[in-house]
Structures are given as structure tokens and as C-alpha cells.
Amino acid sequence: MSRKILLIEDEAAMSEAIKLRLEANGFTVIAAFDGQEGLTKARQEKPDLIILDVMLPKMDGFVVCRMLKFDEKYARIPIIMLTARTQSKDIEQGKEMGADAYMTKPFKSEELLKKIRELLGS
């Protein structure tokens, strides 16, 4: 059974590209385009991993991260924050909110895949 990844990213082109890349590597991808939708889908679909942007409409990525990580039902789902915010205070905040990894854009797809496999333990 292929692993399910929830991709929360508002930039349609970015979302499409990452989705194709992940699917080509055998993952199932569910896309969400704003924070609220992402949170709802995370709760409904219980994905194996979440890739989360920070600057999202409706709900900030940090908030989504915290709401999931502070809820014991979803706390064990690994979260990779993938964002163009590169300042150390943002990275710090991401870690405080419980993100398992913080990657900055532009990213290397092989590094993203490596991180995903690492977090999924496969």
C-alpha cells in the first residue's frame, strides 16, 4: 500500500509540481490549498505525512502545525514545513510549533524525498 502524503500549499503551480514528483516516487498525494482545508483534510484523511507551507490563506502554516501537534490524535503524523521564509527566527518558530523538519524554498527534490523517507522510516 502506498503511503499517503497531505500537501498543503497555496501556490497552485508549486502544488502541482510537488504532487507529480511525489506520485512518480510512489506516494499518494492529497492536495489542500489553504490552512483550513489542510487542517480538515489532515483530520479526515489521517495522512502518513504532511508537507506544509507557512504563508497560507485563512490559517497560517504555523497554526496548522500547532493544532495538529498539540492534539494527541494527530501528534505522531510527521510534518515537514516547506516555505520560502528562511529567517532563523522562522525556523525556530517552526520547531517550537513541533514541526519535524523545516525545508526552505527553493528546495532540491531529492532532499525532500530523502527527508520524507527518513520520517516515514522506509
Binding site: E16, A17, F33
Partner: protein
């Protein structure tokens, strides 16, 4: 400086002064004692009469010293009270010294001077006035002592003993006048100097505060600059990552270049490169505008021509989206002294926005009119509108209203901030009238300047 800090400063100032006066009193008491021993040695009885006063002063000073040592525990008003009491006692004691040792000839005038100096030089006490309070106080007390002498209640120190009442009165009056004048003369001198010093000190403090304010401003500017760099970096990274990922998908063969998707991915990549280029252009402009290094090339320009040119340039884009783009102004020339390129840019930005945020079938109306001393330009659409809470901040750089309707529209969040910059450089202002889903009307006013 807030009230609490000021109170603390006052507290420490007073405490510091008490400490200083304690030390000075010890020195004076020691000097007095030395003087007395010297007098005893030579059998001079007039000076020896002050022995008890000196001893009393030392004892009383010891008391003040104790107060100083424990003053950390007092409240401010208690400290102020104690200090006032100590000063009053000082004034009384010195006046008595001066009285006993014969008025104007008294060596104790220097004590009086010391007292004035102690009380006169301070930032927080009513320094300049306190010396006069002391003068009034000593004068009244001295006159009181003289009155008691006149009625023979006090012995007449330093006065010749066998005098007729008439002669005694004359002498007393003489003394009263001279001594009172001396009190006020000294006070005025100290008042003058303390005022000079205090004024200087106040100026220094004011300068200090100004410097601190300037430092805060620099820090704030620095913070804004950091924020700008961070946001700019974010804005550049986003399209860059799309370009990178799209190319690498084709490179890795995930997306085939021959299939229909391959071309889409290239188109998206190119679109994002265009976006990057436009962000960079805008960034350069905005930094020029904000650092005020953009120099307007003003010339007498017909604004109706500029508006018409902007409409002409965007006509095609409007037609593509089936939007009616209309000019709602007379063709009568409207000359103003402006930078034609920048005003064209202003119109293009506003009209382009209006088209972007309008649904197909909508309309955009460009207006231009004279109102008093101003020229009012406007761009009105029937698009998605702007909520009241967003109406001010949309003019800030990188601010884009985010909702499902605006997400479909590409933008850098710099256009309106450039518009505001252009209008403000021309000495005008820009604002928006709107309600959600009622369309928006961007209005700017430029002062009429004849070239």
C-alpha cells in the same frame, strides 16, 4: 522618561544630597572645633561661646548621617520632609552663629554660602528658588533675634553694652538692613550660578533624550529594512522554487516534454520567470521611491493625454477579459507640472489592478477632474472590492489581500505601494473607496502646479 523612573531619580538625588551635606557638616564641625581650640589657647572668649553650637551641630549631623544610612528604607515624601527639616535646622543654626558673632563681621557667612551651594545645585529640588526661601527664612529669623535683643530678652552679643535705647535701636536697625541685604546678595549670586549650571544640565539631558529618540528611530528603520529584505527574499524564492521544480521534473523525465503537460510546465516556469523579473523591477523602484532617490522629471504635462495613453495600452488586456474600459473625462487639456512617466505608471498600475480584480463582463472607468486646487484622478471597477479593514494596508508593500478570490490573481503586492510613492512624491495623496463585492474606486489627488 516615565514617572516611576523620575521618582527614583528624585529619590536618589535627594539621598545623594543628604549624604553630601553630612560630610560637609563634619568638615565644618571639625574646622569649628580647631578654631575653638585655637581661640581657647589665646583666651578669646567671643569665639569660645560657639563651642556648644559646634558640638550641637556635630551631634545633629550624626543624626542626619544615621538618616542617610537608613534612607533606603524611607518613602520619597519622608525623605523630602527630612531633608527640608535638616535644611531648616541648618538655616536656623547658621543664623544664630551669624547673630552671636556680630552680624556682618561674622566668619560664619561662609557656612551660609556652603548651605546655599548645597541646596542650590540640584536638578530636582526647586534649586533656583530654594536659595531665596533660605534667604527669607534667615532674614526673618535674624530680624526676630534682633527684636528679642531690643527688648533685652536676649543678651546683645557683639554690641557695646552701655547704650541708650535710642543708640541700641539705631545699631539694631543698621544691622538688620546690612545683614538682610547680605543674605539676599549671597542668595542671588548662588541663584544665578545654579540657574546657569542647571540650565546647562537640562540642555544636556534634553539632548540625551533626543539622541535616545534618534537611536530608537534608527533601530526601527533597521527593523523595517530587515523585514523588507526577509519579505523580498520570500517573494523571490516562491516563483524561483516553482521554476526550479518544473524544470527538474522535465529533466528527470517525470514529466515528458513531448506530452501536453510538458509544455504546460514550461509555460508555468516561464510565467514565473516573468513574475520574478517584474518583482525585481518593482523592488528596485520601490527602494528608489522610499529612499527618495527617485528624482521626478517634472514638466508641464496634459494629464488627459496620459490617462488616455494608459487606457490605450491596457485596452487589449481588458478586451481579452471582456471588460469594458472607459474614459470618463472631457478631452479638454488639463495641464499640470508632473513627471509624465511616473503618472502614466500610476494610471497603468491602477487600471491593471482594476482589470485583474474584475470578473469578465465587468467595467473599469477612468476619471479625471479639477476640484479646487487639486486634480482628482480615479479608477473605478465593479470587481471583488476591498474590505474596510484592508483599505489602508493595501498601500503597504507586499500586502495582498488574501482570500479565495484574490488567490487566483497574480501579484507582487508592490503595485499600490509604488502608486502611493508616486503620488506622495508629487505632494498628493491616494485612497480607496470600496465595499466587499461592490467594486472599488481608487482616487488620487495631485496639487495643481503650473510649470
Amino acid at each position: 522618561m516615565n514617572l516611576l523612573e523620575e521618582q527614583k531619580l528624585i529619590f536618589h538625588d535627594i539621598r545623594h544630597k543628604i549624604g553630601w551635606s553630612v560630610n560637609i557638616r563634619y568638615v565644618i564641625a571639625l574646622l569649628g572645633l580647631g578654631l575653638f581650640s585655637f581661640a581657647m589657647f589665646y583666651g578669646l572668649t567671643v569665639i569660645s561661646a560657639t563651642l556648644f553650637l559646634i558640638a550641637g551641630l556635630a551631634g545633629y549631623n550624626f543624626l542626619i548621617h544615621l538618616i542617610y544610612l537608613f534612607s533606603q528604607r524611607f518613602k520619597l515624601w519622608q525623605l523630602v520632609f527630612l531633608r527640608s527639616a535638616a535644611e531648616t535646622i541648618d538655616v536656623l543654626a547658621i543664623t544664630i552663629f551669624i547673630y552671636i558673632t556680630g552680624g556682618l563681621d561674622s566668619p560664619y557667612w561662609f557656612l551660609y554660602l556652603v548651605l546655599l551651594v548645597i541646596s542650590g545645585f540640584g536638578v530636582y529640588s526647586l534649586a533656583s528658588l530654594s536659595v531665596f526661601i533660605i534667604a527669607i527664612f534667615s532674614a526673618l529669623f535674624y530680624l526676630g533675634l534682633l527684636t528679642l535683643t531690643y527688648y533685652r530678652i536676649l543678651p546683645s552679643y557683639g554690641l557695646v553694652v552701655n547704650l541708650t535705647p535710642q543708640q541700641l535701636l539705631e545699631l539694631i536697625l543698621n544691622r538688620a538692613v546690612f545683614v538682610t541685604v547680605a543674605f539676599f546678595l549671597f542668595s542671588t549670586t548662588i541663584f544665578y550660578f545654579s540657574k546657569l549650571v542647571n540650565q546647562h544640565r537640562k540642555e544636556l539631558m534634553k539632548k540625551n533624550e533626543e539622541l535616545l529618540g534618534a537611536l530608537e528611530k534608527v533601530k526601527e528603520t533597521d527593523r523595517l529594512k530587515d523585514e523588507f529584505v526577509a519579505t523580498a527574499s520570500h517573494e523571490l524564492r516562491t516563483p524561483l522554487s516553482v521554476v526550479r521544480e518544473n524544470i527538474s521534473l522535465i529533466e528527470d523525465g517525470v514529466v515528458s516534454l513531448d506530452g501536453p503537460k510538458g509544455k504546460d510546465f514550461l509555460t508555468v516556469a516561464r510565467g514565473n520567470i516573468d513574475r520574478l523579473a517584474s518583482i525585481i523591477d518593482n523592488l528596485l523602484d520601490i527602494s528608489k521611491i522610499e529612499s527618495r532617490s527617485l528624482v521626478l522629471k517634472r514638466q508641464t504635462t496634459d494629464l488627459t493625454q496620459i490617462a488616455a495613453k494608459a487606457i490605450e495600452l491596457l485596452k487589449h488586456k481588458a478586451e481579452e477579459k471582456q471588460i469594458k474600459l472607459e474614459a470618463n473625462f472631457s478631452r479638454q487639456p488639463l495641464a499640470n507640472w508632473v513627471d509624465a512617466d511616473q503618472i502614466l505608471r500610476l494610471f497603468i498600475n491602477l487600471i491593471d489592478n482594476a482589470i485583474k480584480y474584475s470578473d469578465p463582463g465587468g467595467e473599469v472607468i477612468v476619471g479625471l477632474e479639477i476640484s479646487g486646487g487639486n486634480i482628482i484622478g480615479s479608477v473605478k471597477d465593479k470587481g471583488i472590492g476591498i474590505a474596510e479593514s484592508d483599505r489602508l494596508k493595501i498601500f503597504d508593500r507586499f500586502i495582498r489581500v488574501e482570500n479565495e478570490k484574490t488567490n487566483a490573481v497574480r501579484g507582487t503586492g508592490l503595485g499600490l505601494s509604488i502608486c502611493r510613492g508616486i503620488v506622495e512624491l508629487h505632494g498628493g495623496r491616494i485612497w480607496v473607496e470600496s465595499a466587499v463585492s461592490q467594486g472599488a474606486k481608487f482616487i488620487f489627488s495631485l496639487p495643481r502646479v503650473e510649470g
